[in-house]
């Protein structure tokens, strides 16, 4: 029997709440449908496939802990997901369950609640109860007023395991108590109420975060929180890689740990869960210690000792992300903020924007079972970086003769008549092949449409494959969105195949403009429609 199948009468209230104030920023863009066809709401629902309000209420009542505090901590740590954490940093044990219990805290909570540790790791109710028991013991220790939810702040700070005072203040004020004030709600995939946290006026009795912040030297939107855990890159190092990590914990605990000299690890940047804040810990020009832990090379007859040459750490920039690799989805805001940051890093460091250069931490291994990571939306991420770095409306549009290769919101191809044959016979074609047709006294063009959101002056290039049977006067016709023919350019397709050839530069109005390749020219040859570039 499922422990969380009790019906709840407050669905209507929850839905009303959902309408008035979801806490995660609305996803700004739907990820590529082919990568993950779930709607943002479905993805979010799959995080919490249980009805948990009663479990929170019961644990709260049994251990004398405010249920809203338990819910708010759980939301902050895992967004109400039963995570199965991994060790990301040596010295920080893996986090488990809705409450992200780890290491000794998990053992202590299990003991205090009288449940098995394995149950705490795997069962939602046991996980909540262990956390409640642990918080209750902190309340006794701190002699706090259990009836005042604001007085619980020091217990929540202790629970977080964060040492750094500013990170503690951030965790308390901007995460745990912030969600209590704003409220939050989650539904199960079946549409039932999973967790509801009603908005309250809770005010944490806890020192406020410092207001003096220095800004990052490398990335203006980031807050500079310097870590002592770095050294210089070797002279002449070319930074050529970005390594993507997940914190296996909350953002605040992450940057706190990585700026602690005792941790011995760091990353250049940490991005928070919603994408609203980024910390820079190490200058990009220095070497962060984000890849790896300690290793005793004497264990293997010193085979791996005495390294020479280069290393991934020498030439990479590391970005940590608040959250867990085991979570079922990443917030769109976080992906977005991270992609903007990655774009900036690639521009500053001259890093190629592809999946050989922007990789998951796991991809540093020569082989992986989760290739390149089960839930991080890689295709979306790389295309977002490319988009922020000059793709889209400000960059070039390429329209291929193979429609499957086109983003049809920006450009598409249309074939007229029945004479055009799809071919891959002559090498050097763009994409997956080209159209060929015999010249004839009829237009029947292939039309490459491209969309401009605003009027612009653009240069048009065309691609073809060359052979002796090609037309030397292949007619490309340029027509604007109002239907005015701007030019006809005749090209010799017997030469210059397998590369972009400039047709000319024209001013185009906004809307769907087009480049057409007509069949109508000297008979006895082939005209080749392969691809058009607008830049």
């Amino acid at each position: 029997m499922h422990p969380f199948r009790k019906p709840l009468a407050t669905l209507a209230a929850a839905l009303a709440l959902a309408a008035c104030g979801p806490q995660e920023p609305a996803p700004t863009q739907t990820p590529a449908a082919t990568e993950d066809s779930r709607t943002p709401a479905q993805r979010e629902a799959e995080r919490t496939p249980y009805q948990l309000d009663q479990a929170f209420a019961k644990a709260g009542a049994d251990f004398g802990v405010p249920a809203e505090l338990l819910k708010a901590i759980s939301y902050t740590e895992t967004r109400w997901e039963m995570i199965q954490g991994q060790v990301e940093f040596e010295g920080v044990p893996a986090a488990f369950g809705l409450m992200a219990l780890r290491g000794e805290k998990l053992s202590e909570g299990a003991r205090l609640a009288g449940v098995a540790e394995e149950a705490v790791r795997t069962q939602p109710e046991a996980n909540i109860r262990a956390a409640a028991a642990l918080l209750s013991s902190y309340a006794n220790e701190l002699k706090l007023d259990r009836a005042d939810v604001g007085a619980w702040a020091p217990a929540a700070a202790k629970y977080s395991g964060i040492d750094n005072a500013e990170a503690q203040a951030q965790y308390i004020h901007q995460n745990v108590y912030d969600v209590m004030r704003k409220g939050a709600v989650a539904q199960t995939p079946a549409g039932d109420l999973a967790v509801s946290l009603m908005p309250t006026q809770a005010q944490a009795k806890f020192p406020a975060p410092g207001v003096v912040r220095s800004m990052s030297a490398d990335y203006a939107p980031a807050i500079w929180r310097p870590s002592p855990n770095y050294n210089s890159r070797p002279a002449g190092t070319d930074v050529s890689m970005i390594v993507i990590h997940t914190c296996e914990g909350s953002y605040s605990s992450c940057w706190s740990w990585l700026t602690n000299s005792a941790s011995g690890v760091s990353a250049h940047y940490v991005v928070n869960e919603s994408g609203s804040e980024i910390s820079q810990l190490v200058l990009e020009s220095n070497r962060g210690w984000h890849v790896g832990a300690s290793y005793d090379c004497s264990l293997n007859g010193s085979v791996m000792c005495g390294l020479n040459g280069t290393s991934v750490n020498n030439f990479s920039v590391g970005i940590e992300h608040g959250g867990s690799a085991s979570q079922t989805s990443f917030p769109a805001g976080q992906i977005d903020a991270s992609a903007k940051l990655s774009c900036d890093i690639t521009q500053g460091q001259g890093i190629v924007r592809d999946s050989y250069h922007i990789v998951a931490h796991g991809r540093l291994q020569p082989a992986s079972r989760t290739d390149p990571g089960p839930n991080w939306p890689w295709s979306t991420y790389i295309s977002k970086i490319q988009g922020y770095c000059g793709g889209g409306s400000t960059g070039s549009i390429i329209i291929d003769s193979n429609q499957a290769n086109n983003d049809t919101s920006k450009g598409y191809v249309e074939v007229t008549g029945t004479s055009w044959v799809s071919s891959t016979n002559v090498a050097g074609y763009y994409g997956s092949g080209y159209y060929a047709s015999p010249t004839a006294a009829v237009s029947e063009p292939v039309t490459f449409y491209f969309y401009l959101p605003a009027a612009a002056t653009k240069t048009i290039d065309a691609w073809w494959t060359s052979a002796t049977d090609r037309s030397t006067t292949a007619p490309f016709i340029i027509t604007n969105s109002s239907g005015t023919r701007l030019a006809t350019v005749n090209v010799n397709q017997q030469i210059n195949g397998g590369r972009w050839n400039t047709l000319g530069t024209w001013s185009f109005p906004a809307g769907w403009n087009k480049v057409q390749l007509s069949r109508w020219t000297t008979a006895g040859y082939q005209v080749i429609a392969d691809a058009v570039q607008v830049r």
Partner: protein
């Protein structure tokens, strides 16, 4: 656990076979996967005829080690014992040894090293000093040299060397944007590789001495992981040019590019692997909201066929040396284990069952079959 699994599957399969026998039907194209999964494991007799050994990575210890298993008996032998993570690379053409990729974190640095591990238990040869990148080895057909990815002199280059310690290492590529995933042609005269030299990865071919570089693909998205077919007629690669990653093939002269899955709904595709005769390509496809399945496409044409049913994640197909069977990694027992099946998807049989993931199979015929019962080997998964 293993015994229960085998027994249950066998009984279900027996009934299904009986029905198929009554209908006089074999494994019909397109339906083979779903039907095949329940068609029962391979018989003891059929198992005994399976060739060679399968090297794989096992996570039964805290670190990853390379083991090998005889598919005929299930007997397993540990090949590497280093404290680093070790992965099976490419077996040498004579079957005497395996290139192993070792990876470790040392003082905050990720390092890799290529090593040559003889199957007879002889000393492991360190092929180059440890460095940040040393992976994707591919052998010349005569075994006198191999190519691999290396960052010894750059971010990532294709290098060539003889399979011995202190061998001279020749850098075959120069592009600072990186050169990746080399694959030697079956006649040993050319090397296919991916390079980001134009700003995004494209497929290239060069002579085996690094000269005469020819670009095979042209598109502004990512073309990656070229693999030469054993008959030399095709090069497979993966590309996200259509908005999802698909497996494509192209002739070595750059003509005839095509996606191998046609209009079949395979989803995101990866890990193409050529059959020994070069006529078929097995790959992994994961459709929307589904688990990864193993598919096989026939180069002669037609739609690809699913060999596994998608009820659990099935991954990393690897052909038997005779092309009649496939090994693959599956999560169907809750752990990741190696399985076997006939090339039509029937006879799915669990091969390993140790706690901790067993994956990345490399199936080959060893030069001499090592003596049974050596090391910590033991029979499993029968």
């Amino acid at each position: 656990m293993t015994r229960d699994f085998a027994k249950k599957a066998w009984w279900g399969g027996a009934r299904r076979w009986a029905v198929l026998a009554l209908l006089g039907a074999g494994c019909k194209a397109g339906t083979c996967g779903s039907g095949a999964s329940g068609s029962g494991p391979l018989s003891e007799q059929e198992r005994r005829g399976l060739p060679g050994v399968i090297a794989f990575v096992s996570e039964r210890a805290p670190q990853k080690d390379v083991w090998w298993v005889r598919p005929a008996t299930g007997e397993q032998t540990q090949l590497t014992r280093g404290p680093e993570d070790e992965y099976p690379g490419a077996p040498s053409p004579d079957g005497a040894s395996l290139v192993v990729v070792a990876a470790a974190e040392i003082q905050g640095l990720h390092v890799e090293q290529l090593r040559l591990a003889p199957l007879d238990g002889g000393p492991v040869v360190m092929l180059a000093p440890p460095r940040g990148r040393a992976r994707n080895p591919s052998w010349s057909p005569d075994g006198s040299w191999f190519v691999a990815e290396s960052d010894a002199q750059s971010f990532s280059d294709v290098v060539r060397q003889a399979p011995r310690a202190d061998a001279e290492v020749t850098r075959l590529t120069q592009a600072p944007e990186g050169n990746f995933e080399p694959s030697v042609s079956p006649d040993g005269t050319q090397v296919a590789f991916a390079s980001s030299r134009t700003g995004d990865p494209e497929i290239y071919v060069m002579k085996a001495d690094g000269t005469d570089v020819r670009r095979l693909t042209f598109f502004h998205k990512e073309d990656m992981a070229p693999k030469w077919s054993p008959d030399g007629k095709w090069i497979s690669f993966v590309s996200d040019r259509e908005g999802r990653v698909r497996v494509f093939v192209v002739k070595p002269d750059g003509t005839d590019v095509k996606a191998v899955s046609g209009s079949q709904q395979t989803g995101e595709e990866r890990e193409p692997v050529w059959s020994p005769d070069g006529k078929k390509l097995a790959f992994v496809g994961r459709a929307k909201d589904q688990k990864a399945r193993i598919w096989v496409a026939d180069m002669a044409g037609g739609e690809p066929v699913a060999l596994t049913d998608g009820k659990s994640t099935d991954d990393q197909p690897e052909w038997s040396p005779d092309g009649k069977y496939l090994a693959f990694a599956s999560e169907r027992t809750g752990d990741v284990e190696l399985f076997l099946m006939r090339a039509d998807g029937s006879g799915q049989t669990q091969l390993t069952s140790t706690k901790g993931a067993d994956w990345l199979p490399r199936w080959f015929v060893p030069k001499t079959l090592p003596p049974a019962g050596q090391g910590t080997g033991r029979a499993e998964g029968t």
